[in-house]
């Protein structure tokens, strides 16, 4: 059985196997990172809060499991950038062991043996681009400026509640006014650019700056990770921004490792939550959210237990929440229709690999700084798009885009000394295979072999170093974490599902159309990634409904 190293989780108590008289102030369904953020804020505000988790371990997709003696994997999410520093500060997560260590650089290993490196130092990186094109090297400055303008625009919105543009409530009007002013602050030219940016494909956006295919392919990766869209699909430029708008200690766009794996994020949140008196019940799957007279009253667990609560907050994605655990008759028909149409398509897989040593890659000096960063093989936009073509046909990409990292070069805690853990994120893989085969069969390992072969094609000793690997198809991701179709963002990050449209127009303020029922997962604003912002935003709205003062979103750290 999976075990979450070092995390104590309360087993369901004896009392809870009976029908409890206790009425919690709030019950959160799902101990993923957003659920825990909401829970910690609510508990900190003095509420009596319980978090229910179906798995024996907490964390959802921010989880560190030990599946092979001596190794800890970041089984799902594997790097951190978006997690809001305000939340880390508010909840004092460092006291509960959270440490985010930035990594620098990366590399695309081209099929012809050439390598395109990225570097921390701006001028060194420019020189590297100039090896391919001097024009591209200079275009990189213009590109960075453009992306930074978008980041600066989007960042202050992350911890605000989106206005309802059709509402006449003073708060909505004020927030809409803020949004308008914020938009106007860009100036005429950049207002146009922003609108264009939200609808552009990442390929079109990069074409405006760069001429070298590998340079474009390297940057384009951030535009397709986790999304069921190809690099030429409109909307992927925003996905890139979504991956760039985070920061580590003020360094915008930087990514890092959570020491001990991504489970450390959940572990620290659970620690903060418990320090405020919160209770986590694992092995407690919710069968149904109970209602009475159109209001939510608590939850019924699959083991038959009933827990009562004044507020219920679902950290499950919007589709799973409203099609699986809320009875349809309490929901407006129009709402339910839109829930069913919510785009939440699985497109990603994952390999976690235990290695007996650090692999050698052809034409890369050992201990080159790029090896400590993100590694890729897709060297052209055409290869990337063909990978998407396979997904559309219901197959995994024969030549996938991978985002590969060896965190143990930096984090000493995840593998024995001298050994390594490799995380390989794979784009694309469909949740169901068009040839009718189940993922639970030979298909899963065939998928893994496709990825392992791609790595081995550039590394002479890789195959010999592999001690163990875990394969996660979209189906496996859904089965364990509950993410519908294994979509890592709890719903596509396209304009029709962002800001006041997320998850569904008219329901972007974290409240469900059932009284006392709320949503706090990444299906809500501002979306996916291990960001914690949806959880914090939901907590603020819930506390607002209870007339309890909470954090001020205007404290947003500036960049």
């Amino acid at each position: 059985m999976n075990q979450l190293s070092g995390v104590e989780v309360a087993a369901p108590s004896v009392q809870s196997s009976l029908r409890e008289d206790r009425v919690y102030d709030a019950i959160i369904i799902g101990a993923g990172h957003n659920g825990l953020v909401t829970a910690a804020y609510l508990a900190r505000a003095g509420l009596d809060v319980a978090v229910l988790e179906k798995n024996p371990h907490i964390g959802g997709a921010a989880v560190s499991l030990s599946l092979y003696e001596g190794w800890t994997y970041s089984n799902c999410s594997y790097v951190c950038s978006l997690f809001r520093p305000e939340i880390m500060r508010d909840l004092e997560l460092y006291k509960h062991g959270l440490q985010i260590i930035p990594y620098e650089g990366g590399m695309t290993m081209m099929a012809n043996g050439e390598r395109f490196h990225t570097y921390y130092d701006h001028n060194v990186f420019r020189q590297e681009i100039a090896r391919f094109s001097k024009k591209d090297a200079d275009a990189y400055d213009a590109y960075s400026t453009a992306v930074m303008k978008m980041c600066r625009w989007i960042k202050p919105m992350l911890l605000r509640t989106p206005p309802d543009p059709t509402s006449f409530k003073p708060r909505d009007i004020a927030e809409l006014l803020y949004l308008g002013k914020h938009f106007a602050s860009l100036g005429e030219r950049d207002m146009g650019e922003l609108v264009r940016f939200f609808t552009l494909s990442i390929a079109d956006f990069l074409d405006e700056y760069f001429e070298t295919d590998v340079v474009k392919a390297h940057f384009a990766g951030s535009g397709i990770i986790g999304t069921a869209l190809g690099p030429y699909s409109p909307g992927t430029a925003y996905v890139l921004l979504h991956h760039y708008m985070g920061d580590i200690d003020g360094s915008v766009g930087a990514w890092g490792f959570a020491r001990g794996g991504m489970g450390s994020v959940s572990k620290a949140l659970a620690g903060a939550f418990k320090s405020h008196g919160g209770k986590i019940l694992c092995d407690s799957e919710v069968a149904q959210i109970t209602t009475q007279g159109g209001a939510c009253t608590g939850v019924l667990l699959t083991n038959g237990n009933v827990l009562r609560a004044k507020k219920v907050i679902s950290n499950l994605d919007v589709k799973r929440t409203f099609t699986k655990i809320v009875k349809p008759d309490v929901l407006p028909e129009n709402f339910l229709r839109q829930v069913n149409n919510f785009k939440i398509r699985g497109s990603s897989g994952k390999l976690n690999i235990a290695l007996g040593g650090m692999p050698i890659f052809d034409n890369v000096p050992s201990e080159h700084p790029s090896l400590r960063g993100d590694l890729h093989f897709t060297d052209s936009m055409a290869r990337m798009e063909r990978g998407y073509d396979d997904w559309k046909e219901g197959r995994w990409s024969a030549d996938p885009y991978v985002d590969m990292l060896v965190p143990t070069q930096i984090d000493p805690t995840m593998a024995p000394p001298g050994k390594h853990y490799m995380s390989v994120f794979v784009q694309y893989a469909p949740p169901t295979l068009s040839d009718g085969r189940s993922w639970d069969g030979p298909a899963r390992d065939e998928f893994a072999q496709t990825v392992l072969n791609q790595i081995a094609s550039q590394s002479p000793n890789f195959r010999d170093l592999v001690l163990h690997y875990e394969v996660r198809s979209p189906w496996d991701i859904e089965r364990e974490t509950g993410l519908t179709e294994g979509n890592i963002f709890q719903g596509e990050l396209t304009m029709d599902q962002l800001i006041f449209n997320r998850p569904i127009p008219g329901y972007a303020q974290f409240r469900a159309p059932v009284r006392n029922l709320y949503m706090c997962g990444s299906s809500t604003h501002p979306g996916g990634g291990v960001m914690g912002a949806p959880g914090a935003n939901a907590a603020r709205e819930i506390l607002r409904d209870l007339s309890i003062r909470n954090f001020d979103p205007r404290q947003e750290a500036e960049i």
Partner: protein
Amino acid sequence: MNYSMKIKPDTVRVGLKPTPFIDRLRPLNKFESLAYWQGYWSPADFGNPEREYFAIRNTTSVFDLSPMTKYRIKGPQAEAFLQRLMTRNIAKLKPGRVAYTVWCNDEGKVIDDGTLFRLGPQEFRLCCQEHQLFWLLTSAAGFDVSIHDETDEVCGLSLQGPTSYSVLRALGLAAVETLKPFELRDFSFGPGSIMVSRTGFTGDLGYELWCAPGQALPLWDALQSAGRDFGGVEPIGSTALDMARIEAGFIGAHLDFMPADQAVRAGRAASPFELNLEWLVDFNKGHFTGRAALLAEQKAGSKRCLVAVDIEGNKPANHALIYHRKKTEVGHISSGIWSPTAKRNIGLAMLQMPYGKSITSDLWAEIYVMRELKWEKRMAKCTIVKAPFFEPARRRATPPGAY
């Protein structure tokens, strides 16, 4: 016409003075980023101070301590002399132990702080930032003690970080796991030996390794191999070290206090009380330099106090003035950074009493930020907190954990 000039062979070279580690460090210092430390070649960073900072808090960092000023103090009256010089009770310092201490002038103002290593009953080493020989020799009048500047005879490496114990074990230092905080011990290394003390300037698990210059490069190379499997032994510069020491709440000369013997302006020097170091002052041990003045200050009250502050926002507040009610100027931030581990904007602040003691609220730091050639002013609220800002349990654990 040709002149032949006579040049003495030992003429001082103009430029930076090398340390015994320079042959290893210089090739790694690819961006040639240096800090000025007493005229020695000393790196400010190796290209990425954040990465170096995280070596301190995540794996093992190595910092060349060789420029540290070091004095060997020995003789039958070495203890009596130091007892007279230091504010701490040196009689309590046993051989094999290290103590952090300050020493004052007659006015009770701090000349410098440093670490005092008791190598034997009659033998000490004093490590500090500033040059002290003049003051030490002046103070030693009448004592049977010899004082010798051994800065260039002993070189040092500071090995700091959660895997530093694992690295030393891999280096083959026998029973290093029993070394307690502030303990020192000799270990055999190569043909000779090195001294290791469990000390540092980072507030983390860490050690300082001291050896003769001839052992410097073999020690460097052995540490690099020993650390390979533990995430490496990462060379760091003073920028990263400074971040860690602020998180640890440690003060620095010329940063948080003005060395009393160098202060030209009246009122600039600070007493141990003002630096929040009253725990270093022992009035019961007998006479010591500055005692009368410090007793008087204790009675009359100090004029200033050094406090730790948590500052709103994310803009480092270094050197910012501090106001009460955004109106009255009451002090300044002497050291301020964004703490990458505590995820807080932190600082050490020197405040005019009673601010910082009886008046602790409504304090604001005036932070100026230059953004694309425009100065922007931020008034950021300061909350007085307890230092250190980050104190991992591994700092004191004996035996330490693997990471």
